[in-house]
Symmetry: C2
Subunit: 439 residues, 2 copies
């Protein structure tokens, strides 16, 4: 019976700050990075090659070494485990790591340690996908309602959603799974693009990229705002003129504002018909989001990429503070916690529009959105997966977005596996991308 033999962690960083791709009001110069995780085994996969689980924890540069250290600290919890037992119940590993009596002090369930736990849990899911020879969305869609519910930790959320309710919701959606799998494989899921709207882009580039996005078939796009109101109004006017009235345009302040500032700013941007305001303020401020929500309606309020765990999502939903749940592939304690968040969103009738971009976030989070469509919400209505057109070339199975829609991935895994050549090139600080001066 194969065993886990090692937990390898590699610091991979892309020098994206040199081009201002990814610039926003809070992240003026990000270097998109990943603590890249490989769960090695002494087993062989269905294809005859060495069996391993791949995962990553996305960061924006400095601190990626801390993320690597946090993942490495978890090696004693996984090395030596039976692969068969691990893939039979990844939730057991998630619980063990989350509730470790000593590690818990570093969170609990938030920040670097929680993200590191998520990365290791996700590597366990990647391993399971390879054993099952299916992409994650299909692995999840093949599980019974009871199996899915057994993977979820209901601690601190059972006042909003009980296991019995969750099972009932999944059972209601069960009948339509096969038809929705067919629809998904045929037509994919809607995407929206952020590629046109980075804060570091000038008006001409925003106009050109907006027109390109519409020509490419996107029905929704997003602009970064929050640094300067006059500039935001100008850029939004440019984008709206280029996009026309039928394309939805959301705005994203990346937590730049306090409550009063958010309300004022959105009152000024309202004339351009923003579809949602994303991250208007601190992701921790549930009551603040409710106040903003009540003040800017009918403009929707969205958040989630920095929401630390299911407990904060639960409250944002209980308080009716947000209209859009933006799950992230790497923020919370792994796929198991994201299953809880998908079910909470469905319980409160709020659509999930995943955050993506960064390094591999599109590749990973699409699986969760597809599972949500197939087995939880059962709907594409009001749902888009974020799409940012960069760094996909470094992945073994890059996302395929055609006519503004994500196509269902087909290879086994959770989508995180990178090309060996990319890892070698962008390894920090010793890869050629970092040791050679930029041309």
């Amino acid at each position: 019976m194969p065993l886990i033999t090692a937990l390898d962690v590699i610091d991979v960083r892309f020098p994206t700050s040199r081009t201002l791709d990814g610039s926003d009001a809070m992240n003026p110069e990000p270097d998109y990075s990943a603590a890249y995780v490989v769960l090695r085994t002494d087993g062989t996969g269905p294809d005859g090659s060495g069996l391993a689980g791949f995962s990553l924890l996305f960061t924006t540069g400095r601190g990626n070494d801390v993320a690597c250290a946090a993942v490495r600290s978890l090696a004693p919890y996984v090395v030596g485990r039976s692969v068969e037992e691990l893939v039979a119940d990844v939730g057991a590993l998630a619980r063990e790591l989350t509730w470790d009596g000593q590690l818990r002090w570093l969170g609990p369930e938030k920040g670097v340690m929680h993200m590191a736990i998520g990365a290791v849990v996700n590597a366990g899911w990647d391993l399971r996908c390879r054993v099952d020879a299916m992409p994650l969305w299909r692995v999840l869609a093949a599980m019974s309602p009871a199996e899915i519910v057994a993977q979820i930790d209901f601690t601190y959320i059972d006042d909003a959603l009980t296991p019995v309710e969750a099972t009932g919701m999944l059972e209601v959606a069960f009948a339509g799974r096969d038809a929705r799998i067919g629809a998904l494989v045929d037509a994919g899921l809607p995407a929206y693009t952020t590629s046109a709207g980075w804060l570091g882009y000038d008006d001409a580039k925003v106009e050109r990229l907006t027109k390109q996005a519409v020509a490419d078939g996107f029905t929704m796009m997003k602009l970064k705002v929050g640094a300067d109101l006059v500039s935001d109004m100008r850029r939004f006017r440019v984008a709206r003129a280029a996009a026309g009235d039928d394309v939805r345009i959301a705005v994203d302040a990346n937590q730049r504002w306090g409550i009063a500032e958010a309300i004022h700013w959105m009152s000024q941007l309202a004339e351009f018909d923003p579809y949602w305001i994303e991250e208007p303020t601190s992701p921790d401020d549930i009551l603040g989001h409710r106040t903003i929500h009540d003040s800017v309606a009918p403009i929707r309020v969205a958040t989630g990429e920095h929401v630390q765990n299911r407990v904060i999502f639960k409250q944002l939903l209980q308080a009716r503070a947000i209209d859009v749940v933006q799950i992230d592939a790497c923020r919370v304690g792994g796929i198991n916690e994201n299953l809880a968040i998908l079910l909470l969103a469905a319980k409160f009738g709020v659509p999930v529009c995943p955050h993506a971009g960064g390094v591999g976030l599109c590749e990973m989070v699409q699986h969760l959105a597809m599972f949500d469509f197939v087995a939880v919400s059962g709907s594409m209505e009001g749902r888009w997966i974020e799409y940012v057109d960069h760094l996909h070339e470094h992945f073994v199975e890059p996302v395929i977005v055609i006519e503004g829609r994500y196509r269902a991935p087909q290879r086994p895994g959770i989508g995180a596996q990178m090309l060996e050549s990319s890892i070698a090139e962008f390894r920090f600080p010793d890869g050629p991308a970092w040791t050679t001066s930029p041309s």
Copy 2:
């Protein structure tokens, strides 16, 4: 002009799990530990010795290496700085670290990275105290209302407390500062003891230690609860009988419960007159605390040792979800953020009863409670500092608790400096305490 020359970080761990001191419902076997921080300079202190700033980040064992890695990652932000500029405005360093566009992804403002930022900020305050040749509480008590307000980041809290309001509150308290300093130096501040109530202690030990606590002059104590209701009722009965009706006895569930469980459990413990229920559930659950608060009244609800930042404290206060604010010396982004939390608590009229224990938490947090008494709340009413009687012998200036009261510390610093001999003995994993088998 002296410069910061190095940021040294040492992994120090005490094998407390061997005795079950510190055991509670969530931390059955903690090894109290510290990422110990020394900000070295090329300057000389007022006493002629080398000038350095000392700080620490408390953890409960595993993960202390991750905390060390997080602190080390901050060295480039401080090494080479002018000592004079740093101590003139520690808040500027706090802002720079907290709002770093790349590090922020790892929080924001929560978990290991935020605690590491707090540890470095606090080392800056320790340096200031040594330059000023005063203990922290006196340094803070010597600052004008405007100087204090300038040290606080009001981002995300100005909907609850504006700089103008904070200044006004400090000005009102200003007149009485000298008299309160006199009262503090004469009589100290009330303490409560947790030493009698660890979950791993049997009934006889609880009874003996409770009687000892009362004989030692404590007017308040605390029991750990949450693992087993029948056992909790038995232990509370033992403690109540030993303490008599006049001694306040609080209980602490260390986040063990969901909402319904907390309410049920406290309904069963109510007959023993608990003074407060501490950490009934997740520290992230503001709405949950409000529900518990409204259901268990008049029993008070307390939390804070795991509350990640000022934004969560703000909401706990706005929602009237807690009756006691438990600041911690090492959880948030340093003394600057704790100043914000003290002012928020005062604004909402909620007493601050600091969490302590662990490694050096008593030594450090007493300064903030004393500043709160002297310059913010101006009151001892309903306020106690937690006291746990262990590991003090490792500090250069151990706390002095006499007749159940913390006496004001006198040496320059924030209280975190450890003895070189203790560091050498308990250094992990190479100190003799770890390389020699327990006797």
